[in-house]
């Protein structure tokens, strides 16, 4: 029988906490950047002129259809050849933001498409500019509808941030892995790591629920 030894976890606690800090740092910054990127992309895609639309669509399709690991390696190993040298942690943040930005822009687009097109026509005929229409009419309605899928994208950021350990960032996954291979304590560290990740993602899920209820408008439901 496998002898389960919880004391190795307690010994490794400082390393794990340092890992959690880095994971949270990467996740929070990439989530914010990804949201901004997604917002710009979706604005260009829905309101922009033809060339902008083409750029936005090809960005989304290319990023969504290639693995994150390849993008991380590309930012970390290939960009220095073009003269852009970043510290590993910022490479991770850059790749994660670009990757998640594409997914968030798809989520935002679904939300925008669910706002009735009559409102768009009405606000144009009221004399609002395209940007005003987006900012004042479409976006406030769309953002309420897409809070749950947006939350799941933020959960994905936390999960995907574990991949930055392959470009030599000492994040949570790295500290779990290091603890496990140092003393061959795989089961203890796997369970601890799983619990920590579940806790982090659980907090986001809870926040999503709270925000969804907070911003709900009485009597208005999302169109299927």
């Amino acid at each position: 029988m496998y002898n389960f030894d919880a004391s190795v976890i307690i010994e490794a606690m400082p390393v794990l906490i340092a890992g959690i800090k880095i994971t949270l740092f990467i996740s929070v910054i990439s989530a914010i950047c990804a949201f901004v990127i997604g917002l710009i992309t979706v604005f260009l895609r829905t309101m922009g002129t033809k060339p902008f639309k083409f750029i936005a669509v090809s960005y989304v399709e290319i990023i969504r259809n290639t693995p994150l690991l390849i993008q991380l390696y590309f930012v970390y190993k290939a960009l220095p050849a073009f003269g852009l040298m970043l510290p590993p942690i910022w490479c991770g943040i850059l790749a994660l933001s670009i990757y998640t930005g594409a997914f968030i822009s798809e989520v935002l687009r679904a939300g925008i498409n669910s706002v009735a097109s009559e409102q768009y026509q009405a606000s144009i005929s009221l004399g609002l500019s395209k940007f005003q229409t987006f900012r004042l009419v479409i976006f406030p309605q769309a953002i309420r509808i897409i809070i749950p899928p947006l939350g799941s994208q933020f959960i994905n950021v936390i999960k995907n941030s574990s991949l930055v350990s392959f470009i030599s960032v000492t994040d949570l996954f790295y500290s779990i892995y290091k603890g496990a291979v140092d003393g061959f304590r795989f089961f203890e560290f796997f369970i601890t790591g799983a619990l920590i990740y579940m806790l982090l993602t659980g907090v986001i899920a809870l926040l999503t629920n709270i925000f969804e209820n907070l911003f709900r408008i009485q009597g208005r439901t999302a169109k299927a």
Partner: protein, 228 residues
């Protein structure tokens, strides 16, 4: 630029691609079977069974895939079998465990999307449980689940690149082996990304072509959206 690396190592890269596709196909079929079982168990009337299914789905969905791959390969499989596990088997098992939870969610939402009116109508026509499932619920649910299942398959193909981290020589790892020797990372990485893009983008376009209109769909979908 050193694009010559790619034709020189084309055979090696394609061997890697073959393993990627094999891994993707085997783990898709495995996770489809387990996912369907889980999706049905979630609907079980026994509280304990449905609760266990929910616990499995929710916990797997909140843990990164890489944790599964690494710990199944280095921890669980060697401990259970008593000998070093093969790269392919552990990657396959990890992908099946991870994806079955997602597929179970897709199955559940597909089954839930069938309107109660259809089921009531079928009941009043005298169809029994099996007939309702095969003639009414499944045709509607399957046609609604297809796009989500295809996109899950696409994300599985992308996720197979994580098997390179434990050393399985699939597409990503074979590219790594080449550029660790030649130091021409840019060309190889662009080529690999292009191959993944071709497969995934092709599949997503194919799924739009294959998307069947449900023949008993009563909801009228009006085209909405600011860009239409």
């Amino acid at each position: 630029m050193h694009w010559i690396d790619i034709p020189e190592n084309f055979g090696f890269l394609m061997k890697g691609l073959l393993i990627t596709l094999k891994l993707a196909l085997i783990s898709t079929s495995g996770s489809l079977i387990i996912g369907v079982v889980l999706g049905i168990l979630r609907h079980s009337r026994l509280f304990l069974i449905s609760w266990l299914a929910v616990a499995y789905i929710e916990s797997v969905r909140s843990i990164p895939l890489i944790l599964f791959i690494v710990f199944i390969h280095f921890g669980a499989l060697p401990y259970l079998t008593g000998e070093p596990s093969s790269f392919f088997d552990s990657a396959c098992i990890a992908l099946i465990i991870f994806n079955s939870a997602y597929i179970a969610e897709i199955i559940r939402s597909g089954l839930n999307s069938v309107e109660k009116g259809h089921i009531d109508a079928a009941k009043s026509l005298g169809l029994n449980r099996i007939q309702r499932l095969t003639y009414i619920i499944l045709p509607l649910a399957v046609s609604r689940m297809t796009p989500a299942l295809v996109s899950q398959f696409i994300s599985l193909i992308k996720d197979t690149s994580l098997a390179s981290t434990i050393g399985l020589i699939e597409l990503t790892r074979s590219g790594e082996i080449i550029y660790e020797r030649t130091y021409h990372e840019t060309e190889i990485l662009i080529f690999i990304a292009f191959v993944y893009f071709l497969i995934c983008f092709g599949l997503s376009k194919l799924s739009i072509l294959l998307e069947t209109k449900p023949y008993m769909c009563t909801e009228n979908k009006e085209p909405v959206g600011a860009n239409q």
